[in-house]
Every structure is written in structure tokens, then in C-alpha cells.
């Protein structure tokens, strides 16, 4: 979002109307308050107008599916794919527990322990497919969709996943951690250990090309023992993410639930500066006072 907003108008905590940015792609005349507002979770201002950067309609894509024995190997595949000259437009990862949930509905995946779904630019299609095929040569399987029907079939595992999760664990904990792409294999290995250590069903999937994984703990919060184990597991997960140079949120934000973890995420000096920035925009503390900081 940050890269595609050129300008914002917003109302500060004192009711002042502020504008930042112009309908131009280069600007160097004052503080870039628009970028600061984005991701501030309503704590700095109420956005009343946005000027977006528009791009030509994206080219069509070719969907490809790669099957692996396990998630760590799949994550190593992601690292290799991101070294290609022409990057895939999307890389989605599903681990074994995620595949188990949809295995009966999706044909042809056998007992694969992880799946990558790729969207490849249609331009220079054959050369790209060859480069990807060569990069994932160690995988269990590699399929390319040639028709819309085949494309939908490849995406089916990912599409079925969320409704099925909601069905079996409506009160699951859904995290949104992000690590540098090169550390996704280490993250998935750590999640494997946490799973066994805390006797929890943990299912990971998400936007591996960004290092952003949705780590879902399929718990029943009405079971106090399971809830306690999940809480400890979560603390360990976040500590691991920080050790790996990552963050507790790639896209969902902090809100109220993750606010206690901001102390791990940012040191004292940075959080103090956050407070002062908040004070500059909202001296009376009327804007989303319980959120984020």
C-alpha cells in the first residue's frame, strides 16, 4: 500500500485538515506524512482522501504448482525462486497440516508434505517455465496450468483452506509473522519443533515470496490447558521471529491483541519516539487510544 499512495488528506487529533503528497511520483518538499499515516492504525489521523498511483492492468499469469516432501524443503525452493532474474508475481506456500485439511478434495497431491503455488508472468512464458522447472528440479512434482480450468484446479487447495479451517477450529489463533525470505526455512523448522513441544496442531500457509506466513493454531479456547500451551507457544514463536530478524506482523497490524508484544518488537527508545510522534498528531489522545502503541 505504501508504494501505491501518492497523497493523503487526513484530519489530525485536533480536528485540523492536513494534506501530504501530490499526484506526482517524485516529491521532495517536506516531511512525507502520508507514508507515516499508512499502517498507523488510525492513531495519527482519520484519512479523508487518498490519491492512488495507478498502473497498467497486470499481464495475465500462468499458474504453476510445485509439490515437496516437507515445508522446510519447500521454503528452500522459495529462496531459490527469488534468486531468478524474472521473479514470480506470487509464491504461496502450504505446509503438511494445511494440505491434510484439503487432501480429500484436491486430486494428484498424493502424500506431499508441502505445496508452492506460483503465478508466472505470461510474457516469455516458455523460458520462465523452464527456469522455474530447473530451479525446483529436486521437488516431488511440478505442474503448469494450460487452461482456466487447470488453473482453478491448482488453486483449489488454497481456496478450500480457509473455509475448512473455520469449520474445524472457529476460534483458532491466526498469526501473521514475517521474516527475511532467506530465513523462512529456519522459521518453518522452528514451528515444527514448537508443534511437538506444545502438542498443538499448527498449520502454516501464506505469502512466502514476502516471507509472510499465516501461522494458525487450531485450538479450542474453551480448553484452558490448550489455551495456556498456545499462549506459551505464541511467545516462543514471536521470540523466534525476532531472532530471525523478522516481525510479529506482516500485514494484519498490532491492534489491541498484539500490543503487549510491542516491547519485544521495538526497544525503549523507539517506543518512546512512537509516543512523541503520536503526541504530535494527537495531543489529546482521542484517536484510537487503545491501539498499537
Amino acid at each position: 500500500v505504501r508504494d501505491n499512495i501518492l497523497a493523503l488528506e487526513f484530519v489530525s487529533g485536533e480536528g485540523k485538515i492536513i494534506t501530504s503528497g501530490k499526484a506526482v511520483t517524485k516529491l521532495s518538499a517536506g516531511y512525507d506524512l502520508a507514508r507515516l499515516l499508512i499502517g498507523s492504525e488510525g492513531t495519527l489521523g482519520i484519512i479523508t482522501r487518498a490519491t492512488l498511483k495507478l498502473s497498467p492492468r497486470p499481464k495475465t499469469h500462468t499458474t504453476a504448482r510445485v509439490l515437496y516432501a516437507d515445508a522446510v524443503t519447500a521454503a528452500e525452493g522459495v529462496v531459490a525462486l527469488l534468486r531468478l532474474n524474472q521473479l514470480p508475481a506470487a509464491i504461496e506456500l502450504l505446509d503438511a497440516n494445511a494440505l491434510d485439511l484439503v487432501r480429500d478434495a484436491v486430486r494428484d497431491i498424493g502424500n506431499a508434505g508441502a505445496m508452492l503455488l506460483l503465478e508466472l508472468d505470461d510474457e516469455d512464458r516458455e523460458r520462465q517455465i523452464d527456469a522455474v522447472r530447473h530451479t525446483v528440479a529436486h521437488a516431488l512434482g511440478f505442474d503448469v496450468a494450460n487452461t482456466t480450468e487447470e488453473r482453478n484446479r491448482l488453486w483449489q487447495a488454497r481456496k478450500e483452506l480457509s473455509p475448512r479451517m473455520r469449520e474445524i477450529a472457529p476460534k483458532k489463533i491466526n498469526e501473521d509473522v514475517v521474516v527475511p525470505v532467506s530465513r523462512i526455512p529456519a522459521l518453518l523448522a522452528a514451528i515444527d519443533e514448537l508443534k511437538h513441544h506444545y502438542h498443538l496442531t499448527i498449520l502454516s500457509f501464506g505469502h512466502a515470496g514476502n516471507g509472510n506466513l499465516h501461522v494458525n493454531m487450531l485450538i479450542n479456547p474453551d480448553d484452558p490447558q490448550e489455551s495456556q500451551r498456545a499462549e506459551q507457544c505464541l511467545a516462543d514463536l514471536f521470540a523466534t521471529v525476532h531472532q530471525l530478524g523478522g516481525s510479529i506482523s506482516g500485514e494484519h497490524g498490532i491492534g489491541m491483541v498484539k500490543r503487549p508484544f510491542m516491547e519485544q518488537e521495538h526497544d525503549d527508545a523507539t517506543r518512546e519516539l512512537f509516543q512523541r510522534v503520536k503526541q504530535a498528531f494527537d495531543p489529546k489522545g482521542v484517536l484510537n487510544p487503545d491501539k498499537m502503541i
Copy 2:
């Protein structure tokens, strides 16, 4: 720059070391102070470490040159080129006064009144060249470089320009205005009028694809009358830029010289907020106190 910085470490005005961002392309856990620091001209912190987003080496490009009767028509060509599906990687514009400076050194431009230099992606080269040729069909001339030698020859006009300007007007005023791309024709028409009204030699060139033009007044600051005319012309130019929805600086920044124009650039409420943001990072006002705000 903003789009290609993932994280910054900086020292605040109180000597505190602050980090913002991680080596990830998606992050939603706290205020994005890194983006705020970029373009703040050293008034918020001293940057001590930067994590950059790296991209694959760009593909090679094909250089093309379009000649026009005048700069306004060339600017209309820019607007049309930016409606193409596959955008040129660069669009540089030179107006008649810029061309006059290099006309003896550059062959084949006749008495053209404006020039666009384009860099086109080499991928799908022929189709792109055709699309551009069709878009600029009303131009005086269209040339494509097929060899490195031809490419260097096409760029020669642009490369010769800066040294020649320094030679004939070492103390020239070089502005750096930016307007929405669709308003470049109006900006160039206004500059034409200012030129005549104030009897000044004004030469415009620059990154037309971004709406960013370097407006050079070739004055001798030791001539007090000429200097006074240039000062009035500058005020008119900036007023025009603001009327067109643009800004007084696309890339050079505000510094000390353009600080008086910040009142035109930003309203009272926004400048007051700038001061408070400055206060949050640098309560004692020790960081570049005379710059920008």
C-alpha cells in the same frame, strides 16, 4: 529512494539510536519512521545504517529519440506515451533553448524545437517500438538506436547539455519543479510566457516521465536588474506549479534557499505539524536547524 529502503538505523536529536523497518518487503508493526526520515534533509536524525531492497539487474534497453516542433507538443507526447500499457523506463525532455546549446554538436536534429529521449525495455522490442512509433506519429522525427554507437549518439544532446550550461552561465538558477504528468504541457506553455515577460533565457529539460523538470534560468547574478527579474519570475513559476497541483521540488529538496517558499507549498496546519514532528525527533533543535522547516 523511499520505495527501495527496507530499514534504517538513525540517531535522534537526543543521541538515541532508533531502528525502523526490517529486511522484509511487508511490515505492519508500528510507525514507519524509516520512510519519514527519507527526504527529511537531516532534520530528524542522522542515518547510520540502511537496509536496501535489491532488484535483479535491469534488462537492457533500446534508446529511441523523438523530435518535435516545440516543447508543448513534446509534452503532449509524454502524456500519450504514459498511457501505453508497457511504460518506457525513461522519458527525458529537452526544450528548444536546451537544443540550441548543443545543436552544433548533435547531427540530424535540424531546427527541431524539442526532443524526447526514451529508454524502452528490450523485451518484446519490436512490438514496443511499433507502439511508440504509432503514439508519436505526429512528431517531426523518430529514430531508434540499433548499436551502442547509435545509442551514444542519441544521448549526446543530453550529455553535452550540463557542461555547456556551466560554461555559458556558471551562476545559473537551476530549479527542480514537478507537476502531475498530464500538466507538463501547461507548465511548459507557462514557462514560455514567463521567458518573454521577464526577458530571460530559460532552458528546461529533465525527467518528463515523472513530471519533474529542471528549469534553468541562465542569468548572471552580478547583474542586479536581471537578478531581480529572475526572482520575480521564480515566484511566478512556483505559483504556476502550485496551481497545476505540483511542487517546488521533485528531487533536490528544500534546504535553505527554498525554505521561504514552504509557506506556499504547505498550509499553516501542515507546517505546524511539521514543527511538532521535528520537536518529537529533535527537541533541542540541534539537527540541521536552518534547513527545510
